[in-house]
């Protein structure tokens, strides 16, 4: 079927015409198998999380009506903070792993690959931590004081 073979040293499944990778065979380490499965699971969850987020802010609320107050009002409800934590977590980790696929495809020199990965992971994990910090430490009283 597929004529394209994954790069040496990668335990990822074979790239497939039309997108995606074949399910890797779990041998020595099952990491690639879990990562393959995680991409699919998080993808299915993200369909609902990300599309509802986009429909809500762009089509139901309207960007012209956005304000800090409106966001804080929404964050009063723990459900929406939890929702955002889930969206943040799944989108970032799904994106991180997707970016890893791309880096492994385009940056072939081992040393350079480690360096690029380090920069990319730091960037993504830092922004994820900042976002999670905002959501977890949200306190209506503090927010009101900082007006």
């Amino acid at each position: 079927m597929s004529t394209v073979i994954a790069p040496a040293g990668s335990a990822r499944g074979q790239a497939r015409r039309g997108g995606g990778y074949e399910q890797p065979q779990g041998r020595r380490s099952n990491f690639e198998l879990y990562s393959w499965f995680f991409m699919r699971l998080s993808g299915l969850i993200l369909i609902f999380l990300s599309l509802y987020h986009l429909v809500w802010w762009n089509l139901i609320v309207g960007v012209e009506h956005l304000s800090a107050d409106l966001v804080r009002e929404r964050w009063q409800n723990p459900f929406w903070r939890f929702y955002n934590v889930a969206l943040l977590l799944f989108a970032m980790l799904h994106g991180l792993n997707g970016l890893r696929y791309s880096i492994e495809d385009y940056v072939r020199k081992p040393g350079a690959q480690v360096a690029v990965k380090a920069v990319a992971y730091t960037l993504i994990l830092t922004s994820m931590a900042i976002g999670a910090f905002a959501l977890f430490t949200y306190n209506p009283a503090v927010a009101a004081a900082a007006r």
Binding site: G18, L59, R147
Partner: protein, 161 residues
């Protein structure tokens, strides 16, 4: 077994798969990386809403600018396409028979994306052409509710039964 390097250069990356499969794959990767780039900026920008609300309002002004409205449509398109094409990939993984209809399914994902984006683009761009902003009615009701709950500063006549 010969090891065929998957991508030696961008041009190689853009040509080695051929036909529809190549384009769906490039678009899937480009939209995924594009959303990720936006997401990193978006999350840091949103985090300012608690301690620096004025700064956050400044970011919101960007969202409201005419130029960024097109960016929002592009982001919306990216998520819709990536979601539909991703669903196709997942369906093909867990239901092998669907692999035989790969080309048709790829066209279906692309077609559904275009179909969905027609009304979405219309609603999001219409305000630039003088049309109404989405959520106008909600917004009006919210302002009314706010005014009704702050009688201290505004001399609103309270009708009490």
């Amino acid at each position: 077994m010969a090891i065929v390097d998957r991508a030696k250069s961008l041009s190689a990356a853009l040509t080695y798969r051929g036909r529809e499969g190549m384009w769906t794959w490039i678009l899937h990767r480009a939209t995924g990386l594009g959303i990720l780039l936006f997401l990193i900026i978006h999350v840091v920008e949103t985090a300012t809403v608690i301690y620096w609300p004025q700064l956050y309002e400044g970011f919101l002004d960007t969202y409201k600018s005419a130029f960024f409205r097109f960016a929002e449509v592009l982001i919306f398109f990216s998520v819709v396409y990536h979601a539909l094409n991703g669903t196709r990939i997942i369906v093909q993984d867990f239901w092998p028979l669907a692999m035989r209809r790969q080309r048709q399914l790829a066209w279906a994902a692309g077609g559904l994306t275009v179909l969905a984006m027609i009304p979405i683009t219309f609603l999001m761009i219409r305000p630039l052409l003088g049309g109404p902003e989405p959520g106008e009615e909600r917004h009006r009701q919210r302002i009314e509710r706010q005014q009704a709950t702050v009688p201290a500063t505004t001399p609103v006549v309270q009708v009490t039964p």
